[in-house]
């Protein structure tokens, strides 16, 4: 399977990335190469195989619903690009 320039642009938008004209050629080529590698998977019939999500094949543990962590908002927000009154600031979304 090879990808075209339009496919790359579409994928980039989904991934919140921007690919400029100069890079487009490069990503189209290398991503197509990687998909060529990936397509080798089709050599094997897996219709009767169950998928393996995890090496242990166990379900996630549950824990008691009680408070374990303390409030460390200040330490966590100290490293944020922009905060105000305990909130993370981002560009205005709703006018």
């Amino acid at each position: 399977m090879t990808l075209g320039r339009d496919d790359i642009q579409k994928i980039a938008i989904l991934a919140r990335l921007e690919v400029n004209e100069q890079e487009l050629e490069h990503y189209t080529r290398t991503l197509s190469q990687i998909l060529g590698l990936i397509d080798q998977m089709n050599a094997v019939d897996t219709s009767s195989v169950s998928p393996m999500a995890h090496p242990q094949d166990v379900s996630l543990r549950l824990r008691e619903d009680r408070v374990g962590e303390t409030d460390r908002r200040e330490q966590f927000q100290k490293i944020a690009p922009e905060t105000e009154n305990g909130f993370y600031l981002v560009p205005r979304v709703i006018e």
């Binding site: 897996t46 560009p91 205005r92």
Partner: protein, 484 residues
């Protein structure tokens, strides 16, 4: 002092031959002298010496723990409170974590000193340490060559004796392949053995932390400190940690070594093959028997991995959006533009490539053809190992298809770069443990690693098998011609 193993340094510290402050200063000086190797991203000399002095007080008061006073280098993927954690990326150029990884906390409790944070491929994506935002790491055996990756800085810090031991992480070979290319010992434990809490996630169903050291004995010591259940990691396994040191000297008579023919087929460098075969022959002399085994689906491991790992990465790395920590673009029009510019400027090329592959594989209409298909292949690859281990106790082969390659040689060809991990990736997919140990050199004097693969949770046996080899050989004692 720096040529000694951790085990030997512990004896010296306890006997009062030198203090932790002297030892730690010595290693700090070496990192400074060998700065051009670019093995470290962050070193905080004052904080490190403060920890060493605290260790010396504990030693004086006979309150020494397993690793009291031993300086260790940590891959810059482990969060460390009060110290930068960049993950090799511009995205985290200013990130100081508000908490430490469980692995770091465990080493702190054992009395170890944090020597510094080591260079790595950006977000652990790479096999040559060339994708780091902080520049490539040079292989001390030949500075024009790569150290392997992604734990390249950790491997070099141990190989050049800038640190007596280091931590690494291994998603598809990132501990074992650089260990092989740098001539050191590197262990990837079973998935679930070491907590992933505070270890920046790349592919969560594959990532695992492990030790990188001169010897298997030292690896046993570090694993002892790192391993164990952690309720903060939902995939951590609640299973007793055995005494790894106690098993090291077990006799190897009757050990059944599985040899997968496919690991010696086309694609393997002939000099590497010769070194690995000689190492296996050494085991035969120690009383082990060789068994031919078949891993029929192992050739599909690389394609399978390059669906699963990028898919999980594209999801994990969506958290880097410029809102809560790390880099934020300086100019933007609106929220979406801020996300996009932050990510476009903050991530490097290889990371973007993998995010895009993963995004594509998970996008609407392609899930069954890629992600589900890869998960099914993962089952077949894992079953192959289960069947093989019915006939043998460990599996042996090369760690990497060749020795260290020249910098820049593979940067423009991602697929040829990915094929470096052809013998390591299937181990991560199955979740089982494996170790790489120095087994000799090629004609250019570059180190070759022997890979030993074990059953799930059989780290003790891997360490035992590796240790016995290191008692009859001295490859692990060879060091590159850096200033000794």
């Amino acid at each position: 002092m720096h040529t000694k193993t951790i085990t030997e340094l512990i004896v010296g510290l306890r006997a009062g031959e030198f203090s932790s402050e002297e030892l730690t200063s010595h290693f700090l000086d070496r990192t400074q002298q060998q700065k051009d190797l670019n093995a470290f991203i962050t070193i905080d000399r004052d904080a490190t010496l403060e920890q060493a002095r605290a260790a010396d007080r504990a030693l004086k008061q006979n309150e020494a723990n397993l690793l009291t006073g031993i300086p260790l280098a940590h891959k810059d993927i482990f969060c460390t409170e009060n110290m930068l954690t960049t993950c090799g990326s511009k995205m985290l150029y200013n990130f100081v974590s508000p908490y430490s990884a469980t692995v770091i906390e465990k080493f702190n409790r054992c009395g170890a000193v944090i020597l510094g944070k080591t260079n790595m491929d950006e977000f652990a994506m790479g096999s040559s340490n060339e994708t780091s935002y902080y520049g490539p790491v040079n292989n001390p055996w030949d500075r024009d060559r790569v150290p392997g990756g992604s734990s390249g800085g950790s491997a070099v810090s141990v190989a050049a004796r800038l640190a007596p031991g280091a931590t690494g992480t291994d998603t598809g070979g990132s501990i074992r392949q650089p260990a092989s290319l740098c001539g050191i010992t590197g262990l990837k434990p079973s998935y679930g053995r070491v907590s992933r809490f505070g270890m920046i996630a790349f592919a969560s169903s594959l990532d695992q932390a492990g030790p990188m050291t001169q010897t298997a004995e030292d690896a046993a010591l570090l694993l002892q400190a790192m391993a164990g259940f952690d309720e903060r990691d939902s995939t951590s396994v609640d299973k007793t940690v055995p005494d790894y040191m106690a098993e090291l000297d077990n006799d190897l008579k009757g050990l059944r070594i599985g040899i997968p023919k496919i690991f010696f087929a086309e694609g393997l460098d002939s000099e590497v093959a010769a070194v690995v075969e000689a190492a296996i022959d050494e085991y035969r002399k120690m009383g082990a028997e060789l068994v031919d085994i078949d891993l029929p689906n192992s050739s599909l491991a690389v394609p399978c991995y390059y669906v699963l790992a990028p898919a999980e990465a594209s999801s994990n790395l969506s958290r880097f959006d410029g809102v809560r920590y790390g880099y934020r673009a300086e100019e933007y029009k609106d929220l979406n533009d801020m996300y996009t510019r932050t990510r476009t400027q903050g991530f490097g090329e290889e990371v973007k490539r993998r995010i895009m592959i993963g995004t594509y594989a998970l996008s609407s209409g392609y899930y069954d053809a890629y992600y589900l298909k890869a998960q099914k292949l993962r089952r077949l690859i894992s079953n192959d190992f289960d069947q093989a281990f019915e006939q043998c106790d460990v599996i042996m082969g090369p760690t990497a298809p060749g020795t260290a390659f020249k910098q820049g040689e593979k940067t423009d060809d991602p697929v040829s770069m990915y094929l470096n991990d052809i013998y390591t990736i299937s181990v991560n997919l199955a979740g089982i443990p494996a170790i790489s140990i120095p087994a000799g050199f090629d004609k250019q004097g570059l180190p070759v690693g022997l890979q030993i693969i074990g059953r799930y949770f059989d780290e003790a046996r891997l360490l035992n098998v590796a240790h016995r080899y290191q008692q009859v050989t001295d490859w692990h004692r060879q060091m590159p011609a850096v200033e000794r």
